[in-house]
Symmetry: C2
């Protein structure tokens, strides 16, 4: 598939000066059968591609972030993994050419329910085709093709990004030297499915969702806020909150009325996180990515067998990181990935189960553990 690439022409381009957009020349055939006619994939890069074109590191994200993983001269705003990427940092840009892609289906520049449908000139909305984790992987690979990269040094991803890493290695087994999954999963467990199903129902239950046909900027903000509160509750751990908030109360706030007003600091924290997310994210995009996480099953690439799917992987080395307090992508699922990779017998597998307090979000917070693990692996 041949493609051109260009600076994004979207209205948000000025706010995202480092964002580039890969515009695929041909329609993108999706894993569950539909097609995106004029697909676009947003990404950012750091460092330089070497002459051999073999020093690329491809980074997939969790559900929420954009491709702005770190600052650069073009965009000095700190990224979502700022301390992890740069010269002398764990993902060392003096050695690696780093490409972070905005997931297909995410509203930060890639084709998504929030982007314009070429035929109508209006946002796709709910008419956007169903996205699978595999499609996010394919879209990332297409970005690399536009950059003239055929084989990558490493593919890295946390959370949804960890699922995407596994999909990538199953789909393109000969093209990856090393893989890094962080708090990912070969497939979601029913507890995580239940939580995400309820989050989607919170969005869909907001009358402003209008069956998915809301006007841009007039979406189900309430539903998205409530869904994010539930997300935030599951991204951390009870022990962390005991230490951070305890049962401390916020000062009485004149602006909040009624007998059921928030009283505890933890409630104010949830509200802040939820508002921030609802300010940024598109509700339909949230539904699409959330559903993709539930539907993903790596065993689909092994005729129903996880072992057969992992046996396809061609990676030479693997780093699997998980967190003991993660309730959403529990550490047993990280151990399963490591065990399956070892059983497949091709890769040298390094596995760490960190005792971080911060649950699923630890990779963003407990950098004292994650930075050396990732840095040592990539330096080796």
């Amino acid at each position: 598939m041949a493609m051109a690439f260009a600076r994004s022409p979207s209205s948000a381009a000025q706010d995202q000066p480092a964002r580039r957009s890969a515009r695929l020349e041909h329609p993108l055939r999706l894993f569950r059968g539909s097609v995106i006619e004029q697909p676009v994939v947003a990404y950012e890069t750091w460092g330089q591609l070497n002459a051999a074109r073999d020093n690329a590191v491809l980074l997939f994200t969790g559900l929420s972030p954009s491709a702005h993983a770190a600052s650069s001269s073009a965009d000095p705003k700190p990224g979502w993994w700022e301390s992890m990427i740069g010269e002398g940092r764990p993902i060392d840009t003096s050695r690696y050419f780093v490409v972070c892609v905005n997931s297909l289906g995410s509203p930060f520049g890639s084709s998504s329910p929030a982007s314009m449908e070429p035929r109508t000139g209006r946002p796709y909305g709910i008419s956007f085709p169903e996205i699978a984790v595999e499609d996010i992987a394919v879209a990332g690979r297409e970005v690399l093709r536009t950059l003239g990269i055929e084989r990558i040094a490493a593919v890295i991803g946390p959370s949804l990004g960890g699922m995407t890493v596994l999909a990538y290695c199953a789909l393109f087994p000969g093209e990856v030297d090393s893989l890094v999954t962080i708090s990912g999963a070969a497939r979601a467990n029913p507890f995580a499915i239940a939580l995400r199903s309820l989050q989607r129902e919170l969005v869909r239950s907001d009358p402003a969702w209008r069956g998915g046909n809301y006007e841009p900027g007039r979406g189900p903000r309430l539903g998205l806020r409530l869904a994010r509160k539930l997300g935030t509750i599951t991204y951390r751990s009870a022990d962390e909150w005991d230490q951070r908030f305890g049962r401390r109360r916020v000062p009485e706030t004149a602006g909040i009325s009624g007998d059921f007003r928030p009283q505890f600091e933890v409630e104010a924290y949830l509200e802040h996180q939820a508002q921030r997310f609802a300010d940024q994210f598109d509700a339909n995009a949230y539904l699409y990515l959330s559903r993709a996480m539930d539907q993903f099953d790596l065993a689909d690439h092994g005729g129903g067998s996880l072992a057969a799917a992992f046996a396809k992987f061609g990676v030479r080395r693997a780093l699997v990181l998980g967190v003991e307090s993660d309730m959403l992508f529990p550490v047993e699922q990280q151990r399963e990935i490591a065990d399956q990779l070892r059983a497949a017998g091709r890769a040298a597998v390094e596995f760490h189960a960190f005792p971080s307090l911060q649950g699923h979000d630890a990779f963003l917070v407990d950098l004292a553990r994650f930075e050396p693990a990732l840095g040592n692996f990539l330096r080796a």
Copy 2:
């Protein structure tokens, strides 16, 4: 406080033939300062009060159930703890006179937001005064007074009922021989507060809540359904659902349309549980009881010190039961109760942390562990 008691005259009385109602003759002064003018407390009993009036067991419930803990000749429907109460059962009615009270604030016969305000002849709704866990304890004691009971053999409660047991023993230290708390807490942790706060927001966000002023039978059913789904997710454990549901899908259902229809068995299970609850429970009563659980802090009875509060207890024996997979009332909180009781030095304390898979709900399900523990304790 003198009282009369009578069969409940409510329209639901025919459905609850074993339910009795204690009608307090005087207004009930509440822990947080308000008053209920003509308080009623619903309850059921099993077994016979002995001549010495010293064989009573007082049972408090979790948030959801009524006083119908077990069947009887008057009402053969199975109760919520059917196998636990009866002749030869762990709470043996050939020895004990068992009284289960419907919590003050609950809609199953006790004064609550759903009951009639005597002055207006209409449901209290949101004008019902704030209920504390302590008020539930006081209301239970008033029932015993109407029955001529001044000292009890044991006070028992799971979940909210476990909190109520602790409040009871702090308020009436000389009146209890033995206490049993099951998956309770001396005070909620911020994780449980966050979950309940969000559940309340789901109810309050339903336009049908109307600021609490909905007509009887026309309340926020959607909000209550969503809140109960979240509750159900937290009442069990991820490991149990792995075993029960895995990633099995429900057969395609013609009646359910749309691209985000439930697909996994766990989603159908949540829906079933949520519907059942929304059919039975009053939304405002739910808000009141949920808030009471967040606000409860046993340290309020010790000038801010938990140790000082536990030092007030006059019980001779204590049984503390918890479950390792309980995410809502974690096992550390059960250990804290046991440790505090031991540190207070008066009671013989027995503590079990069960490895049940069923999380907070284990006391309703893992009866192979809970029945012998309770039976042995009460026989001793």
